[in-house]
Each structure stands twice: as structure tokens, then as C-alpha cells.
Symmetry: C2
Subunit: 378 residues, 2 copies
DNA sequence: ACGGTCGTGGCAAGCGATTGCCAAAAGTTG
DNA sequence: CAACTTTTGGCAATCGCTTGCCACGACCGT
């Protein structure tokens, strides 16, 4: 509170009987100062409780040891993984971590970048809403690393939507589904489009019919409209833009008495916390979001250190995998028995018995191993 | 990337034909400069795309317009609410927001504070793990606002555990439970102790027997041991330190075939995302975590502005409320029928049928309205 | 007409580091 | 031992902005 004037290099210098520059070099450029002197200086600094002032350092050297991460919606659990991965990596590197929320707005995103411009070494832009042009423009004067967004020459990391969507389609196809509908996220979302494109391609290759509905807000609350629209479409497999939306869809379907997976199957993206808690537990495409965060920071850090052309990967793609749970099952058959699939019913954990009037009672066929909770998510 | 030398007050000053100090005052102390001059300067600044450099400002004036929030475990959904509340408020105030993870370690917490010391105006310490003495010590030279932690003279905000725990006890008592066990979180956690004390007091007042087990890691993974220990204790009502732990307990109980709420009831704290998704949906004490984050930042901001004794509340207590869902029910009766409680079974949404061997089949008594999903949580 | 307030704007000294340049000291070499 | 290279440490300028202090002119009252 009160300001007892913190100790500076000058204090240390005086006390140690050397010049301030020597103290500075002791910290910033140790090989430039004699080992014994250095020892001495360090000792004195220690004794005086000296801490370098990052602001002064930054002002002079331009090296701020700080990065900022901007996310469209800090409220969305989807980003939590990325955020924590990024924070971890930054922290490991001794870099301070600024978190900003852009409220799904490109303008807001620009503003934040503007504001933080002087204060950070670079930005991690998660699911950036800005246009390609804008982004490229900004990249000319700023250090950027993109997460789940691709822009020509810019470094970034994405979770691999292509193969992921392919896995989803294969899974659904193998369950006998012939018609898929994609419940889309925001249209400015690169990821939403990417997912749609990949899904469509995969479906077409497989000869399934596929449609897109939306956009829907990528939140639980978007699920109502999405579910209703999907039901009208007649598709038997619904692929939601993310788990939040999928959970909303599940809710709405349950309200409307539509059996899942008896009548329709539902798939999400992200495998957020809670995806294995809902009923039925959600089949979803899991991506290493933490890893994405880490890698993005890594890219930023790397770029900063070696300015000249560095053959390091500027573009990393992270693998996804499909986590199959209870919200997907065989396409509804007309025969009452043996058509549906119930998860292995272990004592005490119920998750079946989903459909009632409309869904035929289902026998215990199916894939007994599938109902198990996903990996621990603390 | 390349550095085209950003425009400074000097550029603006030259261009506008005034002194640099005038430019500075135009921004920092507008009433000190003539309206027309100011207009002119602003126009020029605008044209040149001038942005003040916060680092230089901070270096000179000590005003950094930046705060940091430290949380013990960035991985824990419990904190997300607080984090986003804090980020929002900071953002509204034009204050940049640094997020740090302390990995549940007091030492780490100190270090972070040390490191960020020069860079921020103050710290929001969420569920700080540091001792009272250490905290007080730090508070002498730093601006602090505590969340869910109370230390004598320090400003802070807590969610109201006392009445909250009382509500829990009342609820359980009214369901006929006579014996409660508290599954404790980390012992350094002030909150964990606070909850325990309040719970014990409430239980004793009500004449219920109450015990404490633990500590358990406040994560889903801690639930296994917690559940097992609780079963041995013979209590019929388990109150877990937080929802994560409660969810873990639910899992374990389900694995062991123990009916919830048929055989035991389970209550959590926090009402995190997912608490209403699990099976059975968790009864839990909801607190306004977002609000807590906001208020903490508010306190910090307030303190900074008016240095002299300000009668503003330095200590705010936020109300909690019990969200009753499906994990609590009447104490198990010996009669097979009518003892347990199944949520209203609406078509298409299954959630009952939890117990098997040990739990008697349950009829449709109980509180039909209770199974509904909680308020929207995006 | 003269001294006194005010309102404005400029000068210059920092804030706490970094760093280019230089000189003294030390070590090398023929 | 002279000439030369390498270490090592000091000087002082600089980063971009804030702010105490001063000066100048306009306006005021008497």
C-alpha cells in the first residue's frame, strides 16, 4: 500500500560497489561479467531483496515476457482446456499470462489487441472471429498464434476436424444411419464451417445424405431450436457443433419424449467436462484442447526467440478421437426387439431405459463395454 | 513484427505544435488543458493513430491499470465462475486481467505475487492457501482482495457458508436423516474448514450426528475413497466439499450398487456446470461465484481510487441457495416400497433405476417436480 | 493604471532498467 | 619487452510518459 521505494539496480550497485550496468548485466547478460563479481552482485541483490522491474525492462528492451490470450466466450467450457494449457505453458516459461474475453465480436477482438499491444509480446487468438484479411493485417505488426483457425501464412494449431468428422460419419454409418444433419455454430466461426465441410465431404464419400441447419448459439440454450429443427428434417443422426449445443439438444429431445439413441442419435464436439455426465452420456469428438493451448504458446515463444527463418513447424495439427458413449446407437429399426442398443447395465448405474412410448423396449444386445465413464476429468 | 517505431506523445506534440506535456495532460488530466487545445491534440493523436504506452505510464506514475487473479487450481470448474466474473468486471473498468495458477501451493502463490508485484495494481486471491500471517504480511505492501477466504482486516468477499450449510442440514433433517458425514477438502483450504464448522454447528443445533472424513482431493478422482469411507461410517447423508468430489462419490456409489438417494443422499457445494447433468442430478449449494469475482475486483478497484478512509464495504458476503435435485431423498426406510424416491419419469428422459440388488424397487412417490434441469448454464 | 488571481502551457527531472561505446586491466604472442 | 587482443566494468543516452515548478498573458478589482 504505502510505497517504501522498492530496491533498484542502483541500490544494489551502490551496496555492491559496482556500476548499475554491471548489476543489469549480471541478470540479463551473465557471461558479460566476471564470475566472482557476479556472485557478489547476486548475493547483495539477494540480501536487499531486489526484484527487477519488468516494466522498466520492457520499456527499454521491448521484451515484456507477457502474452495475452483472447477467447470469444470465456463462459464456454470448451475453452477452459485451451486456457489452462496455455496458462500452464506460459507459466512454465516464466511468462505472464493475460486473459481476455472478446464476447464473440471481431471488433472487440481488435480493440483488445490494440489495447494490449504495448504490453505483450504476442497474442494467442482462440477461435478468432476476425476475417482473414484483418488477421493478416494485424499479423504484420503483431505476434500471433492461432488456435482452431487457419489463415494462410500464420502460425497456429488446430485440432484435426477432417479425420474427426470422418470418424463421426463412419461411426454413424456403421450404425446404419443414412441421413445426418449438422447443427451449426456461429457462421463467423471458422471452426463451425470447417466441421461442416469435413462432415459433408465424409458423408458424401460414404453416400449418406447430409444437411446443415442453423446457425444456433453454441450454448445449451441453443439446443431447443436446434433439436426441433433437426426433428423436422427427418434425419436420424444429429451432429451438433459442440457439446454444449448437443447437451441442449439432448434436453429438448428428452422433453419432447424422443428417445436417444433409440429414435435419433446425437454427437457433439469437444468432450467437455460434463459430456459423460449427461443422460444419455454424449458421444463426442474429443480433441486435445489443453495441448492446443500449450502448443499455441509454444509457437509464440519460439517465434520470439529466433527471429530468422526457423524451420520449426509453424502449423501444427492435433489428432482427435471419437469417444463413443450412449447417445449414439443403431438407426431405429421397425422390429421392436433387438434393434436398439442399451449400454451394459451395471449394477447401480442406470443409463438405459431412455425411450418409453415411442421407443421399443430394447434388449441387452449391443456393445457392452461402451457405457463406461470417460477418462477422469477433474 | 518489424518495428516501425510507434507514435509517441512527442510525435503528436510536434505535429500539433504543442509541448509533450500538453499531450500527456490531454489524456491524463484533461481539465488541465484548454478545451480547444485539447480538441486539437486529440484530433492529431487520432490522425497519427497514437496509443499511449501503458508500460511507460506505469513506470512513471505507478498506475498500471492491471490486476492479477490467482487461483489454486485453474483446472477446477468451481473457479471458472469466479474467473469470468472477475475478468468481466476488470474488462469493464478497462483494466487488464492477468490469470495465474498456484497449483494449490502457498509457496507458489507467494512467488507469483512476488513476480507480478511490479506489474499489477493488486491481486485477487481466490481460495488462497497462504496462512493468515503470510497474507497479512503481504497485504502490507500489496493490494489484496480475497475470495472465499477471511483474514482479519483484509477486504474480501465470501459466499455465505453459514446459512448455506444450515440450509443443507435443514433439508436433510426434513428428509429424516439423522446422521451426516462431511467429506472434507484440503485442510489448508479455509473454505473447507468453514464449511465443516458451519455444517457441524447446524447439525448439532438440530441434534443430528455429524462426522468429518478426509481430506480428499477436491476432484472427481477423490470421490472413490470418499464414498467408500462414507459408507463405512454408516451415515445416510453425505455432504461433499464440492461438486467435483460429490460427482466422484456418486460414481463410486453407482459402481458399488448403492442407490442414491434410495440408500444414501449426497449433497455438494458450488453448483458447477454439470451438476445437473449427472445421474442422479446433484443437490448442491449454489453460490453466486460470478458475482464473487466481480465484487472482488470491485473492492480492489475501489481501494485504489480513494486512498483515504472510505466507508465502502470492505467485506461482502454473498447469499447462497440450495438447489434441490435428485441426489437427496428421504432416509431409507425398511419397507421396500414407498421408501425411495424416483424423479418424475417423463417420457424419454430416464434417470431412475439407479439401484439394483441392494436397492428395493421404488415406486413413484416423492416429489414429482424435482427432477427438472436447473437454470440454464451456458 | 497597477498589483493580484487564474488559466495554460513549457521545461526538465525523473521512473528503472538496457546497451553501445570506450577505457583500463589482464592475458598473449613473437 | 613491446604490441596486440580479450575481458571486464563504467558512462551516459535512451525507452515513453508524468508531474512539480515556473512563466506568461488575460482578466479583475480598486
Amino acid at each position: 500500500m504505502n510505497t517504501p521505494r522498492r530496491t533498484t539496480i542502483y541500490d544494489v550497485a551502490t551496496e555492491a560497489g559496482v556500476a548499475a550496468s554491471t548489476v543489469s548485466r549480471t541478470f540479463g547478460n551473465p557471461r558479460r561479467v566476471n564470475a566472482t563479481t557476479r556472485e557478489h552482485v547476486l548475493r547483495v541483490a539477494e540480501r536487499l531483496g531486489y526484484r527487477p522491474n519488468p516494466l522498466a525492462t520492457a520499456l527499454q528492451s521491448g521484451h515484456k515476457a507477457t502474452i495475452a490470450m483472447l477467447v470469444p466466450d470465456i463462459t464456454n467450457p470448451h475453452f477452459f482446456g485451451t486456457i489452462r494449457g496455455a496458462e500452464r505453458r506460459a507459466s512454465e516459461a516464466g511468462v505472464t499470462f493475460i486473459l481476455g474475453n472478446t464476447e464473440e465480436s471481431a471488433a472487440n477482438e481488435r480493440n483488445q489487441i490494440e489495447r494490449l499491444d504495448h504490453s505483450v509480446d504476442g497474442f494467442v487468438l482462440a477461435a478468432s472471429r476476425m476475417s482473414d484479411e484483418t488477421t493478416v493485417g494485424i499479423a504484420q505488426s503483431h505476434n500471433l498464434a492461432l488456435v482452431n483457425r487457419e489463415v494462410d501464412g500464420l502460425p497456429g494449431v488446430v485440432v484435426d476436424t477432417g479425420p474427426g468428422s470422418w470418424q463421426i460419419v463412419e461411426h454413424l454409418a456403421s450404425l446404419g444411419h443414412r441421413s445426418i444433419v449438422y447443427l451449426s455454430g456461429p457462421h463467423q466461426s471458422w471452426l463451425a464451417n470447417e466441421r461442416w465441410k469435413a462432415l459433408r465431404a465424409a458423408a458424401e464419400r460414404r453416400g449418406l445424405s447430409v444437411g446443415r441447419l442453423g446457425p444456433f448459439p453454441p450454448r445449451v440454450s441453443g439446443g431447443g431450436a436446434a433439436a426441433d429443427a433437426a426433428l423436422v428434417s427427418g434425419a436420424t443422426a444429429l451432429v451438433a457443433h459442440n457439446d454444449l449445443l448437443a447437451i441442449g439438444v439432448l434436453r429438448r429431445l428428452s422433453e419432447r419424449g424422443v428417445a436417444v439413441p433409440g429414435r435419433v442419435s446425437v454427437v457433439g464436439y469437444d468432450d467437455i467436462f460434463g459430456a459423460d455426465l449427461c443422460v444419455p452420456a454424449l458421444t463426442t469428438l474429443a480433441g486435445p484442447e489443453d495441448e492446443a493451448g500449450r502448443v499455441a504458446v509454444e509457437l509464440l515463444l519460439r517465434k520470439g526467440s529466433l527471429s530468422t527463418a526457423h524451420p520449426a513447424p509453424q502449423r501444427v495439427v492435433l489428432p482427435t478421437h471419437l469417444v463413443i458413449r450412449d447417445s449414439t446407437g443403431p438407426r431405429r429399426a421397425e422390429t421392436p426387439a433387438g434393434s436398439g442398443r442399451a449400454p451394459a447395465r451395471r449394477p447401480g448405474r442406470g443409463s438405459g431405459d431412455t425411450g418409453t412410448a415411442r421407443a421399443p423396449a430394447r434388449s441387452r444386445l449391443g456393445h457392452p463395454g461402451r457405457g463406461s465413464p470417460s477418462a477422469e476429468r477433474p
